[in-house]
């Protein structure tokens, strides 16, 4: 009972926070709602018996990626002008059509879920050991490919960082 209540509560928070994340005009507020939504999703993972995924969701998404987003947005000095611009983007003409389509999809999803009948939400608690065994067992090629992708990202970031340094260096004297 308590578990069910927690699950529904977290799900509601996730939904509400996601809506607010999209609809806020202030970028920082929007990001903070997104962080909240990610945290709620982490709780959902936890309730579904995937504590490892929950922890990673918080560490990687909420704790690192979102903070870097915030970091970048804070540096941009968004003022009232940016908020007006955001308001224009959120004119009803812009969101009504995609909103209706999304609603259709949601209806579709609910229908499928009802047709399929009750399915167990999670197959018990999956310990981190099981995740590790799966990742480095049958999915090892996926892991390796992902690491190659990350390596490409690191190289690209290094390249961008270098260019920025050079442009700074011209006026910067000995710095």
């Amino acid at each position: 009972m308590l578990n069910n209540f927690c699950f529904w509560f977290a799900a509601l928070v996730a939904l509400g926070a996601s809506v607010l994340a999209v609809s806020r005009r202030n970028a920082v507020h929007g990001l903070l709602w997104l962080v909240l939504s990610l945290l709620a999703v982490a709780v959902l993972f936890f309730m579904l018996g995937a504590p490892f995924a929950a922890a990673l969701e918080v560490i990687v998404y909420a704790g690192a990626i979102m903070v870097l987003f915030l970091f970048a947005v804070m540096m941009l000095h968004l003022g009232p002008a940016a908020q007006r611009q955001e308001a224009q983007w959120l004119a009803p003409g812009v969101w009504i059509a995609p909103g209706l389509l999304a609603l259709g999809l949601a209806a579709d999803l609910i229908a499928i879920a009802r047709l399929a009948g009750d399915a167990p939400a999670g197959a018990g608690i999956i310990p981190p050991e099981a995740v590790g065994a799966a990742l480095f067992g049958p999915y090892v090629i996926g892991v390796e490919l992902a690491s190659v992708l990350l390596l490409a990202g690191v190289v690209a970031a290094y390249h961008l960082g270098q260019r920025r340094d050079r442009s700074l260096g011209e006026g910067a004297g000995s710095g």
Binding site: L2, P51, I59, A62, V67, L68, F71, M74, P127
Partner: protein, 363 residues
């Protein structure tokens, strides 16, 4: 008698009491579950408050001793009531929100910072079976702590940005960069201990060190590098000198909490000392055997484990304070350089050494 047995006794008594009133056992179990959590959460907050009260006084006395002065002397004998008086002063202060600040975020920042700091306390193993959130800890205790630790940053960022002050903003940006960076060597050091203990549970890590002082992790040669890495990155995570750049007084006025007064400032302060205690506790758990007595298990002195844990933590806190009052502050680029060029590679080396030790079967 350990904390765990006391808890079990109280639980059984409560269930009996509720059954006597005609409450179904299922419901009373649920109620007690909720109650346990509420009490645990309250205890965590109280732990932080106590830590702050004691540590503020301690810090002022320690710095006084190091700087050849007396520290507080006026309130109570040897100034022991100083922290209480400080709290009263902060409570009575006017709460000022800057005119152009983001009112909501300015308020949320310190609350978030403190809440997150308190949340990490639920996985600390205070004694044998004495973890507030034992079930969470059993599965992913270390990861939970790391996850919660990474969220503290959002409080700083939100508070610093919400103040609408350029110094606060600079402090918040520095804080974000620093804490994201130092999390990595900290986690790498943690991973070494996890490999050693073969569990992600903090309570399990203590169990693994059972025995006298010889069995503790810090005496294993392959743990020396992780010990150093964890201590340095721990000090960096809690923003203390020589890594106090997010609030560097002489550069950024007060960094991210420049625009805070009264209770909101007090919340930042509380959380900072709460984090200090937390890092000390986690260090003790990882490397100094947590609640274990140095004389072997079970403790020949029959002292509660929490005493040993707090004593070890106090030692770490004193070392951190000693460092703070001795060293100058690093510059922001040197700080990041230290993390990325030295500590993270060193962390990988430590991890490699740990793996080798396991493969050779020495662990």
């Amino acid at each position: 008698m350990s904390i765990h047995t006391i808890g079990v006794i109280i639980k059984d008594w409560l269930i009996g009491l509720l059954a006597g009133w005609g409450v179904p056992v299922e419901l009373s179990r649920l109620l007690i579950e909720v109650l346990t959590w509420a009490v645990g959460a309250a205890l965590c907050i109280i732990a932080i408050m106590l830590a702050a009260l004691v540590f503020i006084y301690l810090e002022r006395k320690v710095s006084g001793y190091i700087q050849s002065r007396l520290g507080p002397t006026r309130c109570g004998p040897v100034g022991i009531l100083q922290s209480f008086v400080d709290v009263i002063k902060l409570l009575l202060k006017e709460d000022i929100v800057p005119a152009e600040a983001d009112r909501v975020l300015h308020t949320i920042g310190p609350i978030l910072f403190l809440a997150v700091s308190a949340l990490a306390y639920v996985v600390v193993p205070w004694d044998e079976g004495g973890t507030v959130a034992g079930k969470v800890d059993a599965g992913v205790g270390v990861l939970f702590m790391a996850a919660v630790g990474s969220m503290g940053l959002i409080g700083i960022v939100v508070g610093g940005w919400g103040s609408n002050n350029k110094w606060s903003l600079l402090g918040a940006i520095r804080g974000a960069a620093q804490m994201v960076s130092y999390e990595i060597p900290m986690l790498l050091a943690l991973m070494c201990v996890v490999l050693q203990a073969e569990t992600l549970s903090l309570a399990g890590i203590v169990e693994d060190q059972k025995g006298s002082i010889i069995a503790w992790n810090f005496l294993r040669p392959w743990m020396w590098l992780p010990v150093v890495l964890f201590l340095i990155s721990g000090v960096a995570e809690i923003n203390r000198t020589p890594f106090d750049i997010p609030e560097a007084e002489s550069e950024l006025v007060s960094g991210f909490h420049t625009e805070y007064t009264g209770m909101k400032f007090a919340l930042f302060f509380l959380a900072e000392y709460g984090n200090l205690l937390l890092v000390a506790l986690i260090f003790s758990v990882l490397f100094l055997g947590g609640w274990l007595s140095p004389f072997g298990y079970p403790d020949p002195l029959r002292l509660p484990g929490i005493i040993w844990l707090l004593a070890k933590s106090l030692l770490i806190v004193l070392i951190v304070m000693w460092v703070r009052w001795t060293l100058p502050r690093l510059r922001v680029d040197q700080l990041m350089g230290l993390a990325w060029k030295l500590m993270i590679p060193a962390g990988f080396v430590a991890l490699g050494v740990m793996c080798a030790v396991i493969m050779l079967g020495w662990a």
